[in-house]
Symmetry: none
Subunit: 327 residues, 2 copies
């Protein structure tokens, strides 16, 4: 019946360890006090407790919802060598494919922190709905000496949620200076791109982008329902080509495949944006979540390009579970 702990070995030495651990963790005594109570040196008490710890005699439970999230964060950090990770508790029980709201709040918190602590002076910014929402969620906080710079072309047919808009909102809320690229998202041809990239204002902004301490970007998907397609940034033909070449996601205007390598699509050569190689060594944060994103997240994380991930609980689960066991 009640098969409790009737048969527990409890070896001699182990017994002392248990007692020391009990006094320390539950009794809240200091190791010195335990030492004198058990008539041994403090060092020995320390060793006993360490042993109890190694032997798994100590079970710790942490209350609270975010516990699961923290678990996920930890696993993601270790799995992909991230320097940081934030998994937001799911807000939207509903099946909206993009938990924009959740990510926006979480991202705003991350950015707010970075600003608050003055860690970042120049901040590179990507594009996308999530980033735009994040900018909206950022508390107003005047920040002198901070500069936001867009890392990609700005002018598009669609006014909402383009890089210019994101930058605009950010600088409005912080009073920071903002820089953006007064050129299209994608040039029409490779030659056009060269011309546009040569513009002084573009060069200046890109130079600034290369000096950024912190980069915040979203992650685009490659699907007919994707943001880029729906807003007419890329055509269905281009989408087809991307699919054919195995593209699974997009970051800062560049499309990459399941291994995180840039695909050889013609459109990738026309993107007017900072070179991804220039991000090496920077703190690169991406905000990404939703049912269609796990694979793209996994791919880009595996490259080591990204140092921080902000996502939601469901997506974190999906990323971890679908990940190949390696690394």
């Amino acid at each position: 019946m009640f098969s409790g702990e009737a048969s527990r070995p409890s070896g001699g030495e182990n017994s002392l360890a248990t007692r020391a651990a009990w006094l320390s963790f539950i009794g809240g005594l200091t190791q010195d006090e335990i030492a004198s109570r058990l008539s041994m040196s403090r060092v020995k008490v320390n060793r006993l407790i360490a042993q109890a710890h190694r032997d798994g005699l100590i079970r710790v439970f942490i209350e609270g919802t975010p516990q699961e999230c923290v678990t996920l964060e930890d696993r993601l950090c270790r799995m992909f060598g991230l320097s940081g990770c934030f998994v937001a508790p799911m807000l939207d029980e509903g099946e909206r494919p993009l938990p924009v709201e959740t990510l926006a709040v979480a991202g705003a918190r991350v950015l707010h922190n970075a600003l608050e602590t003055g860690q970042a002076r120049i901040i590179g910014v990507g594009h996308g709905r999530t980033l735009a929402a994040m900018a909206d969620r950022l508390p107003r906080q005047p920040r002198d000496g901070v500069r936001f710079v867009s890392l990609l072309g700005s002018l598009t047919r669609n006014a909402a949620a383009n890089p210019f808009d994101v930058i605009h909102r950010l600088c409005e809320r912080t009073g920071a200076e903002s820089y953006f690229l007064p050129v299209p998202f994608f040039a029409d041809t490779g030659e056009d791109k060269a011309v546009l990239m040569a513009q002084r204002s573009v060069r200046h902004a890109l130079d600034l982008g290369r000096q950024a301490d912190l980069v915040i970007a979203g992650l685009g998907e490659v699907a007919s329902g994707s943001f880029l397609v729906k807003t007419g940034m890329i055509t269905v033909e281009e989408l087809d080509e991307l699919h054919r070449l195995g593209a699974v996601g997009e970051i800062l205007g560049r499309f990459f495949d399941a291994k995180g390598r840039l695909v050889d699509a013609e459109i990738n050569a026309r993107a007017i944006a900072i070179d991804l190689a220039d991000l090496q060594g920077k703190e690169v944060v991406i905000l990404a979540g939703g049912k269609s994103k796990p694979q793209a997240i996994r791919s880009i994380l595996s490259t080591g390009l990204v140092t921080r991930l902000v996502t939601d609980e469901a997506t974190a689960h999906a990323v971890i579970e679908a990940a190949p066991q390696g690394n």
Copy 2:
């Protein structure tokens, strides 16, 4: 109503505390590392962890029992024919008469185990400070299909540590259903008791209690400083009568003498609680310890009513040593 839950929402801050605590205790990170990961100062991390500790978000169990305690457990089991026994290493060298903390942790461990292994579906619950503390120490663990039922009257003048409160906390932590008797602890007269016992809700709860797989109760003492007296549940006159009749302890609202027999006190006839005879054949666990309890423990154990004892080391010693040498 007796709302045991006075905690403010504080989702955001509490969430941070949980994260910090998790990273510290489970992740094993140093506070510096946590600070940099959460982008805050180390001092703040320290404060968050301290807060988590204060709020009781952190539960620690120690597996195993020191050898000396195992010996005591074994002797108690054989001496009183118990099916199980748990002797907690003593914490309070000091002179606190009631090692509530120790028993609470130990009891929580026992209950946690019972829930974990799914051995108990319906659990009868008594009253008292120790049980209330135990409920507080129980880790949150959603358990479907488990029902807690109070075995005695609930409504009293004192809001804290009454059966309702214990039940309430337990169900809050496990998500289980809870049942309690919406009547006083003691009826004013025997007739009142009959009326109250006839209430459908009372009958229903008591019926459920009779089906319990597991019963967890405390052990009350008969002294002017006892919990029941101090909270005004029984008067000094009643206490005197109990003394005169040789009462040495109380379990589930009934007072018994040194031989474990219910005393013929008038108050015993007014207690609104499950009949002790209905506990026959059940797993009955009692949590009891402290300098004033050994005699009561010995008496009740000698009846065979109790199948499991959770106590502290000092009390275990006292129970064994003062026991009549036989067997």
